[in-house]
Amino acid sequence: MSAIETFAERFRTCPVTGLKVNRDSELLIRANAVVAVVAMLVGALAAIGLVLTRWQAIHLLPAEMYYRFLTAHGLNMLIFWILFFEMAVLYFAGPVVLGCRQPAPKLAWAAFGLMVVGAGIVDATVFMGQADVLFTSYPPLRATPNYYLGVILFAVGALIAVSLFFASLVVAKREKTYTGSMPLVTFGGLTAAVIAVITLLHGAAVYIPTWLWSMNVGNIDPEVYRMVWWGLGHSSQQINVAAMVSVWYLLGGLTVGGVVVNEKVSRTAFVLYVLFISMASAHHLLVDPGVGPAWKIWNTSYAMYLAVLASMIHGFTVPAGIEAGQRLRGYTNGMFEWLRKAPWDDPGFSGMWLSLVIFGFLGGITGVTIGTEQINILVHNTLRVTGHFHATVVGGTTLAFMAVTYYVLPLIFRRRVAFWPMAKIQPYVFGAGLTAMAMGMIFMGILGIPRRHWDSSFAGAPFPVEIHPASELVQVLFGIGGLLAATGALMFIAIAVTTVFFGKPVTAEAIAAGASGLPSGVLRLPAQSHTGPLADQVHQQGVKGTLVLVGVFFACFVLYYFTNWKMLSFLWKVG
């Protein structure tokens, strides 16, 4: 076989995007995406049990099962679903976007295998009842040693996969598969990968000693564990943010020809994530006895607020890029024609936009506020925390990943999306449910209801607790929202699984005929670069609509933040 034939076999040119896709990366993307969706199914089924238990009127599961499901839900959703998907994102953002070969494909499969085995061990120990330690597994709470071993194997696999992403950057540069600087999507993926390395090293620093301790070797200080663990637990969420923002930029380009309004600004914002996020995990210890106020203020302020700055920048540049892209497509009337005329029935676009809005308004504002040293007194370990991170990780990251899946299915799996009418409404169902649920949790938390707690009626406790009557109303909001969000997740899983196994193939004729199951950007990919008078004109017009939107966002942020200080001032004096 000649070298040219081998080359032709290993690569194909995507008829929609023109990207040169190598076979190895494509298969790795498929495998990681499929396992990610399976993990999501486990997590979503557990979620239904959890919602129906915390909704006190139903209170479905017994205590032991509740905590077991809670452990499984956290691990499958926050770790397995998201990280497997992120590995798929990295295999895309590296070799596929840059058009290079997959470095060390066998090693990549070994990494994938380690991750699958690790995740399998973790799930098995949890469901066998040997690891009712919740997501955080704070010692001296103890699980069976195999649980920690599973986490370690998974992390080693992830670390190898991330290294291969770095390798693909080197390969692409050496073999000159592209000219100029790496595209922003790859750059965003690179920042996610750097944060992933920081995160996984914290993971090794905390889980290897904990594994030994679980076998009675050595000792673990509970406060030191909390500090190092959050270097993993929080930074891992920042991998998500970087990956999610990259997906926003990617989908902006694919769906409406969204542009990068300024490479310098967007890239600097990504770098801010890398530089400042790991110390920001300090905000998990704001009401802990282990560290002092100067440490808390310094680490949360310099680190977290500069990461917040990064998110606020992306919160402008992403919609601004979409606005400019739409204006280039001729939607130039008034402040908001670009938004009204957006493809709202393309789940790739609606999912991305909902992700941006839910992440910013609901997740971002609440998160920054509760990450404040003193306000945390009001919030720590109440359901407000849970409400916040469901808005960021589920309403933000998961929804963005769902949205990009509607493009991964036709472009990488080369299948038309099954149940297309259902796919068009799926992001709305999921987004609405999630918003209602997260708001329900936030209000329950404001009323003092703790997180990770089986029974809000406190039946059998030595002293009766009279929960505020308003909580019954917000529990209904939480419960219905939760069930709706779970419905949206199951719709997504049904669509994804059916498409992968039974979807009709994507052909040139299907695209030309505008066949069902193909999102708008696949049917007609908007132009990805623009020069000339039109571009100049759009530059001149600016992004007025986006300025109004971020103005509304900023007003909400300021109002919510200072309302919380006011609420804090009513508490007992404490110091």
Binding site: P222, V259, E263, P289, N381, Q528, S529, H530
Partner: protein, 182 residues
């Protein structure tokens, strides 16, 4: 925005892309940065001007030593018993010792409104969470660490302490009591 070209995030930018930002972006970045400085300034400011800070006194302590200290505290100031748990009324200004353990807050506290106490929190087994209900005052309780918070109850009444950190199957039964009198 650069003056002559637009491209999506999928396109490798050519040449020098380190171009000045558009006035609109500069404005937003400036607003966002100033806002971040405001967020930062609020925390030290509240330490000087506000009354709610999680600073406290922090020591390492062995669980055994802490339990012994709690027992001495109960012995000294016990005034009664409720649900099998001693009720303790320390004098104004005293150091108050509260123990979290599976699944109980020990002892019941009787405090006076408007008086400052140093409330010590620790655990003899796992992490627990101190959540004063319905005031919504929340602190982490970690074994091996003594967290001494100076508190001033600002209203009288019958309060609960709910555990808000998972500590095993009986976690939901871990409810304590604080009585504040005028």
């Amino acid at each position: 925005m650069s003056a002559h070209e637009f491209h999506s995030a999928l396109v490798p930018p050519q040449g020098i892309w380190w171009l000045p930002a558009h006035r609109q972006e500069k404005t937003w970045v400036a607003i966002a940065f100033i806002w971040c400085l405001v967020l930062f300034a609020m925390m030290p400011l509240w330490h000087f001007r506000g009354g709610q800070n999680p600073s406290g006194i922090r020591y390492r302590v062995t669980p055994e030593a802490y339990v012994a200290r709690v027992d001495r505290f109960v012995e000294e100031y016990q005034v009664g018993e409720e649900s099998g748990i001693p009720v303790v009324a320390p004098p104004p200004g005293a150091d108050v010792y509260l123990l979290g353990r599976m699944w109980q807050w020990y002892p019941v506290l009787k405090l006076k409104k408007g008086v400052q106490y140093t409330l010590h929190l620790s655990s003899s087994d796992l992490n627990h969470g101190f959540s004063l209900y319905p005031v919504n005052l929340n602190f982490q309780v970690v074994p091996g660490y003594d967290y001494g918070l100076r508190v001033v109850p600002n209203r009288s009444g019958d309060f609960r302490i709910i555990c808000n950190e998972f500590c095993g199957i009986g976690h939901h039964l871990m409810v304590g009591k604080v009585l504040v009198e005028d």
